[in-house]
Amino acid sequence: MKTVPDIKILGIESSCDETAAAIVKNGRHILSNVVNSQIAIHQEFGGVVPEIASRKHIENITLVVDAAFKEAGLKYEDIDAIAVTNAPGLVGALLVGLSFAKGFAYALGKPLIAVNHLHGHIYANFLEHDDIEFPAVCLIVSGGHTSILYMSEAGHYEVMGSTIDDAAGEAFDKVARFLGIGYPGGPAIQKAAAEGIAGKFVLPRVFLNRKNFDFSFSGLKTAAMNQWKKNNHENNSVNDLAAEFQTALVEILSVKTIRAAQECNARSVLLAGGVAANSELRKMMKFKSELAGLKVYYPSLKLCTDNAAMIAGTAYSQYSKGDFAPLNLNAYASLLSL
């Protein structure tokens, strides 16, 4: 029997405020996963400042890459390919990782693979679970995206619905900002909500009764702001409003996703993206999926937020197909298609 050689891919990710590098073997085994988070720097500005993110990326990129090799116990020439996120994201930030990856791949004489950041988030599930059955429905939910996708097979995506305005993570950030509880909004609201009682405020479940799978979070955010303005700000009202906001958002996301999964006879439900780290969302998705007889998967917390292991993992199937990028590969803020 012919043995298939191990394929080790270096992944590089710099689409937002994390500079990350990782080495993954055969699309499954994480040999190293290094993330340099800039959250503390951007906190001062109440959100990610693209120019500052780009400046940090260029300072840290070689350090992060070297740390990934060290952690994996590998030399540069031991890797088989270099994968890099080239869309979607902050263009100036993406260009640091992309330009570095091109130079590094060229110097080592290794192929370059362009990876879609959203495919990376979804793939994070496959890094940790080998029993995911198709068809699957995936809720991808982050600061920049909120979509329900249909996956007939691995690597094949159809959009069933998307937000028509703010992404869920964006709504978390905005509400956290006007409640004055900090940045990033997701963890801040989750923490406040744990001390509050949902239902003391009443927020609308926007779009919940519509037949389609689109979302709208701008109205929910505005409703929360209006309730806050009318309120006389008693002791625990920040926490109560955070709890109601989180409950409304989680209900809308989970009900729509399960409904989508039932409609297309999916066998699995996947959760992906930074907001997939929200514990209430994970709990509710698990509860509702099991009730509907569906298996639910979500990545561990470390792989929900931006990382490069998901990029290196995604690249494995592209490597197998010889789907390599040319030296003139560019970076793009948004995607024309999934």
């Binding site: 400042v49 120019e51 260029i58 300072e59 100036g92 130079g103 791949a105 110097a107 030296l327 560019n330």
Partner: protein, 235 residues
């Protein structure tokens, strides 16, 4: 000695291969301005055309700014990748030094200015009477009027002031009014950064063994980000 010089800090994309006494190849483009797409293919073409491998190089020189923030980072990230993967050392060159180096052996004062937006330029003043430009003042970001007044003071005993850089064109009128007969605009082939000039400056730094560490080489932006200015971080 074999040096690859790389520049993407202004609208120009430039790459050159030089050895100790001559320019072997040079690419200059002020046309498409998509540095992220073009830079590595240009590097590849120059090396391939000259039958040169990265491993043959003594150093890779890169302009660290001032200039377009994103442009600076595209060049720097590219050479960081090349350097890390090949173990070839890096040399950093100021974009303003590089432009001043276009007009050496002149009795005029050299005043390269780069477009800094917000109605300002990045500028410096150089004595270019010798074979290498000598920095007299700057670099700084400032309104063209302020830079012009500074240049007039420094150039009191000079026949003229030679203006260079892409910051000259938008403020041509201002410099004309300020300098009058003393104004000389560089001819178009010397106006913008030339990778060959960067190679010349790098040669000197190699002789002085002024190499940069691949991890710690930094862009030279001059300015903070807008968000930092708004937070009042300038002092």
């Amino acid at each position: 000695m074999l040096i690859l010089a790389v520049d993407s800090t202004t609208p120009v994309a430039g790459v050159a291969l030089v050895d100790e006494d001559k320019v072997i190849a040079e690419y200059f483009s002020n046309y498409k301005r998509v540095h992220s797409e073009n830079l590595l293919p240009i590097i590849d073409r120059i090396l391939t055309d000259c039958n040169c491998h990265l491993q043959d190089l003594t150093a890779i020189a890169v302009t660290t700014g001032p200039g377009s923030f994103t442009g600076i980072r595209i060049g720097m990230a590219t050479v960081k990748g090349l350097s890390l993967g090949s173990d070839i050392p890096l040399i950093s060159i100021s974009t303003l030094d590089a432009i001043a180096c276009n007009v050496v052996f002149s009795n005029y004062l050299a005043c390269p200015v780069l477009n800094a937006r917000k109605n300002e330029v990045y500028a410096a003043l150089y004595d270019v009477r010798g074979a290498m430009p000598e920095l007299l003042w700057g670099p700084a970001a400032g309104a063209p009027e302020v830079i012009a007044d500074k240049a007039l003071k420094v150039a009191a005993d000079r026949e003229g002031i030679i203006m260079l850089g892409d910051g000259y064109f938008p403020f041509r009128q201002c410099f004309q009014e300020k300098f009058g007969d003393k104004l000389a605009a560089a001819p178009s082939h010397l106006m913008l950064p030339r990778a060959a000039s960067i190679g010349t400056l790098a040669r000197q730094k190699i002789r002085q063994e002024k190499f940069e560490d691949v991890h710690s080489i930094r862009p030279y932006y001059i300015r903070l980000s807008e968000a930092e200015y708004k937070l009042g971080k300038e002092c």
